[in-house]
């Protein structure tokens, strides 16, 4: 494999050809912020928060998608980079609800993390703001498009699920939003509530309804567990308060066709002493169901 010499923030390093600037920086322990980048799923260079200064380049470059070249000299936190990142954050915040006071994502939100890191605050302005309704039609997925930063992670994640691709970008320009099946509600759409979109959303636009309004992220102890429903072994997380499981959520998909509602509910039933009643879609409507029904245990229980 051909190795390339690059200099990042004055440190010389050698990386294999094809490595992106972000990956090369990570090897040196340099953290470059990223909102849209998600390895193998969303490598689109859309959010621009990862821009870096490359000597000789006409403009700042998106480090998540630009491969390094021989002799490249990179600055990841130079004044022009920091100015650009602040401007990007200002533009995102200009059209984002000032809701950290009660937002369930607070404490785990990438936008909050970077706004704090670069000291960017909400500002009063006369410009337009999104004013979209909150979609609670799906009892498992809470969707607030006003908080969406259009990073596209959920869209590309959903597209990876065979026969789904429920989420897509709709409209153009300022009106762009993530839509479900030609702008239906999540409840009406073909969404199967696998929760993969929730697991990748960097902000509070897509959240697990059943794990909401229980506690702030910083009050919780988190324990990672594997789902045991099938051989894929998807990662789930138990949310504990004072040692007691109060909710669960999907964390990351395993190999194959990963993350599903059945797994989400099974983990809930296995670990949570007080799981909320499951709901199942019948004739296009979500109705309350028994645990045996949603987990497909009716026949077995009948035989027992």
């Amino acid at each position: 494999m051909k190795m390339l010499n690059v200099t990042i923030n004055g440190t010389v390093t050698q990386v294999p050809e094809g490595t992106t600037i972000m990956e090369a920086a990570a090897q040196l322990g340099i953290d470059i912020p990223a909102l849209c980048y998600l390895k193998d799923v969303n490598e689109v260079g859309a959010c621009r928060i990862c821009v870096v200064e490359v000597k000789g380049a006409r403009t700042l470059q998106a480090s998540c998608v630009l491969p390094v070249s021989e002799g490249m000299e990179i600055q990841t936190e130079s004044p022009s980079v920091v100015t650009a990142r602040k401007e990007i954050l200002k533009l995102i915040l200009a059209n984002h609800p000032n809701d950290c006071l009660t937002c369930n994502k607070a404490g785990e939100c990438k936008l909050q993390e970077y706004a704090y890191r670069y000291d960017v605050k909400f500002e009063e302005h006369q410009g337009a703001r999104k004013n979209l309704g909150i979609d609670t039609s799906n009892p498992y997925i809470y969707r607030d498009n006003n908080k969406c930063i259009l990073c596209g992670r959920c869209v590309n994640m959903c597209a990876k699920v065979p026969e789904r691709a429920v989420l897509a970008f709709g409209n153009r320009g300022f009106e762009t939003t993530v839509v479900a099946d030609n702008n239906k509600t999540m409840g009406e759409s073909n969404c199967v509530s696998c929760a993969r979109c929730i697991s990748v959303c960097p902000v509070g636009a897509l959240m697990d309804s059943r794990a909401m309004n229980i506690a702030r992220s910083w009050e919780l102890q988190k324990e990672d567990v594997k789902c045991a429903v099938c051989e894929h072994g998807c990662d789930f997380q138990l949310l504990k308060r004072n040692g007691k499981v109060v909710a669960v959520r999907a964390l990351a998909a395993g190999e194959g066709r990963p993350l599903c509602l059945k797994g989400r509910l099974t983990v809930d039933l296995t670990y949570n002493d007080n799981p909320k009643t499951p709901l199942v879609k019948k004739d296009g409507e979500f109705v309350e169901a028994t645990w045996a029904e949603v987990l497909g245990l009716d026949k077995i229980l009948g035989k027992i």
Binding site: D99, L101, T102, A106, A115, D119, K121, F122, S217, W218
Partner: protein
């Protein structure tokens, strides 16, 4: 003893117990901003109001003593409505700054707004607009974030007894300040930081060069090493670096610290900090081991004692030592070296 019922549960408590304390004994949590068990009851913030059967209005649980046969509801619809309204009035005149506020994650106003689902005031009223007082070298005061709970003032006057701060002006213009609205720097403040430790919101905040969020830190309980009192405190640690100190409300300090304990922690990572003994050799200070250093001290003491007698030596001990260590130190001088020339820095 007094018998009463809280949320349908009967409870027996001692006379003069407050409703809040009685509820605590049942494990019922009532929200509070201005209450602090070390301070005289204040009843100012009104978030602790509860419904008492037969009472004309909602009562502040932190100040009202229990009475025989009292029937109390701590989370009835009217109580929750009142608490929501209190929070709305507070948040109406509070910067919505949780995005980057240093207190976020450790803020009582934020906790209760989340608990009672209050997102904004919604009154479009007047806003405070005070400049931030950062004249004190250890902390800042942002009066725009102050909710007027008065804890800082009462800790300063009742426990620390410095009397540097109090309320200035009246009505909407009421604010925490020093006489004649001067800066902290010009006050009698001794920078003990006890006001900072009790502030439930982000109004009084310690200055620190490191950036950290409340949820990134680990708390490590320890004993303050500065003097023999042994104050209990928690070090706030981010990664492997101490980034702050908070007092612990147990004996002997009961939640108080002095300026050294509260703010004097930066020596820990200071580049100039001495980590090994140095011995002067040929006019140059060179690093030495502790064994070498102790040997040198012992040799010099013996040499001086032999040459000039024990009274040519004197011992000077430190307030950073414990009583036991100071006792051993004077024992060393009196019994081993044989001199009464012994003193202590706290006597100066």
């Amino acid at each position: 003893m007094v018998n009463l019922t809280i949320n349908g549960k009967p409870v027996q408590v001692e006379d003069n117990t407050t409703i809040l304390q009685a509820a605590e004994s049942l494990g019922i949590e009532i929200p509070t901003f201005c209450y602090d068990k070390r301070l005289i009851g204040h009843g100012a913030c009104r978030i602790c109001v509860v419904e008492v059967k037969g009472a004309r209005a909602l009562q502040t649980a932190c100040t009202v003593p229990v009475a025989e046969g009292m029937v109390v509801e701590t989370h009835s619809p009217s109580v929750i409505e009142a608490r929501k309204e209190t929070l709305k009035l507070m948040i109406e005149n509070h910067p919505l700054d949780c995005l980057t506020c240093e207190k976020s994650g450790n803020c009582k106003l934020q906790d209760y707004c989340y608990e009672y689902d209050v997102k904004e005031g919604g009154y479009n009223g007047e806003k405070k607009n005070y400049p931030i007082d950062d004249s004190n070298p250890f902390f800042t005061l942002d009066r725009n974030k102050c909710i007027m709970c008065g804890k800082c003032i009462r800790v300063d006057n009742e426990l620390q007894c410095t009397g540097a701060i109090n309320y200035n002006e009246r009505g909407f213009d009421t604010h925490v300040g020093i006489p004649y609205d001067r800066d902290f720097e010009q006050s009698t403040c001794v920078s003990c930081g006890n006001c900072v430790s009790v502030c439930p919101v982000g109004a009084l905040m310690p200055k620190h060069p490191e950036k950290f969020r409340a949820w990134e830190i680990k708390r490590v309980k320890t004993t303050c090493p500065y003097c023999g009192v042994g104050c209990q405190m928690e070090l706030l640690v981010k990664g492997n670096k101490v980034v702050g100190v908070e007092p612990v409300n147990v004996d002997p300090n009961n939640g108080l610290l002095c300026v050294k304990g509260k703010f004097g922690y930066r020596f820990i990572d200071h580049p100039d900090r001495l980590k090994t003994p140095y011995i002067r050799k040929n006019g140059e200070l060179v690093e030495a081991t502790w064994d070498e250093a102790y040997q040198l001290i012992a040799d010099k003491i013996l040499e001086t004692k032999e040459k000039y007698g024990p009274n040519s030596l004197g011992g000077f001990s430190s307030a950073r030592c414990t009583n036991e260590e100071n006792y051993l130190f004077q024992k060393l001088f009196r019994a081993v070296i044989g001199t009464n020339n012994i003193d202590h820095c706290a006597r100066l």
